[in-house]
Symmetry: C2
Subunit: 298 residues, 2 copies
């Protein structure tokens, strides 16, 4: 993972180096290479600003280098090699191959291939998946101060995982923890949906839900879940100042054991005939209500 | 559009009737046929419950008919023909063809082809696009009573349009209006994302933004927009009881003219480093804050 990048110019879209970046759409290739791919000026700017130490290489078209001179500056300051490539090579870097399918998140990725990286692609070092780091990050939060944690459990769609990271960031969450069965936040689709927020706030993967719940209790952070059957309504409850929203699977919500283990369950009022909210919408309502109450109380 | 459906059994996935349903992924085919496609038990149940008069035909696999006997009952009661088809034909009904691309919403549709309709597909009569109906629907709202309207202007992604209809419904909106330049809410991807809400509340397409703004003013409904530059913060403002949230394009937000014409502009507080929220997230925050204030005031 610390091998020095090859700085020779990229001239063929079929070269080994190009194919290795394209292969990062697949989870197994990300693990094997210990790298992940970041696309588009907003995400790459965020990476270079907040996590320059993760950045291994930046690829830009000449046009993008002109339009986003600050990216070249940021990369230079971080000592990150910048490669100017032509449009054809840039497209090849983000080409989603059929091989990405069986690797685990291929089908959900397919749509993402149509999003243009606007001439900017970066490769970063893949943060390791470490169950202990999630628990340690909780323990490291300042005690007795307000805290908002977001725990994703069995959220399977990479687009949802990315969007949840972005919304958690916007609502001022301190930490996002993903259990082992979630989609990989470092898949290109998740990275795109996170729109740079993946590099703003600490995101830990590979956690075990039981360990997270135990550590939350030990840290006096109230685990909160949404349920259509809960007695308390979100807007009528005074939310604890140290809170962790536990968000579940897109189709099935939280499993019964996890829901039962959360000390706080709230119902989001549904005024129309809609049967439910999707996980990202529910999270948005809960996280911004948490922010509203915090602001009102401050 | 009132021709009687062919009730003979469907035996070939390559038959003309199957191909016509598959073609409804494209906007031009929807207009030419005057029909649209609804997939999955939840959406079809909502269609048959709330808009049975729109339903032309329901296709079910034997397994789905067993698992969702209520759909067969609802269809029978509405006098809608039900066709039992095998799995292969059902898949062919929702197969997205390359031809859907140039029709206008093909690329954004592509990902949707991977979502399973769970053995249930229906065909409905396409509601006409009528700029006058949007304005008339506003005028028909009870005067001097609380009202929440959602106006989508230049929202281009069918998945976003569907999700916005679902969230508007869940938050108790009375009406959703789409301007002419929005994605078609009757594309399969939008219908799926709306999860049945498209049939719960009135949705009008083809509106002109100027006409909508003029009619809102005439009806004493305050047009409200979000802006990162607004002085007022959403959570500090007492929202008017008659309000229309005007939501803009995914990439550019609202154009300057429309933003300038909205009497109320609010800023959604962003606590993290996130630069912005996507349009659906912003709408969720605004609509549920509207609902919260309404409940608190009631």
């Amino acid at each position: 993972m610390t091998e020095r990048p090859d700085r020779s110019p990229l001239t063929s879209p079929r070269s080994e180096r190009v194919r290795k970046v394209a292969a990062l759409a697949g989870r197994s290739a990300r693990r094997k290479q210990g790298r992940f791919r970041i696309e588009g000026p907003q995400s790459v700017r965020s990476l270079l600003t907040h996590r320059p130490e993760l950045t291994r290489e930046v690829f830009l078209t000449e046009r993008a280098a002109g339009a986003h001179a600050e990216l070249v500056d940021l990369a230079n300051r971080a000592g990150v090699p910048v490669q100017l490539v032509d449009e054809q090579i840039l497209r090849a870097l983000v080409r989603e191959t059929a091989a990405a399918g069986p690797a685990g998140d291929g089908t959900a990725e397919a749509s993402g291939a149509l999003v243009s990286p606007q001439g900017v692609v970066a490769v970063g070092a893949l943060p390791s998946e470490d169950p202990a780091s999630a628990v340690a990050a909780l323990a490291a939060l300042a005690p007795a101060k307000a805290a908002t944690v977001v725990v994703l459990h069995e959220v399977r769609d990479p687009g949802n995982v990315g969007a949840l990271v972005r919304t958690a960031d916007a609502a001022g969450a301190d930490l996002v923890l993903l259990t082992r069965t979630c989609a990989d936040p470092y898949s290109p689709k998740a990275v795109r949906a996170a729109a740079g927020s993946l590099f703003h706030l600490p995101v830990h993967t590979g956690a075990e839900i039981q360990d997270v719940l135990a550590q939350l209790a030990a840290c006096s952070i109230t685990a909160a879940a949404t349920s259509g059957y809960a007695d308390s309504e979100l807007f009528s409850v005074e939310l604890p100042t140290r809170i962790a929203w536990i968000l579940g699977n897109e189709a099935h919500g939280l499993d019964r054991d996890t829901l039962g283990a959360a000390p706080l369950a709230v119902r989001i009022p549904l005024a129309g005939h809609a049967e439910s909210l999707n996980v990202h919408t529910a999270a948005t309502v809960c996280l911004f209500e948490t922010l509203r109450q915090r602001q009102a109380g401050a």
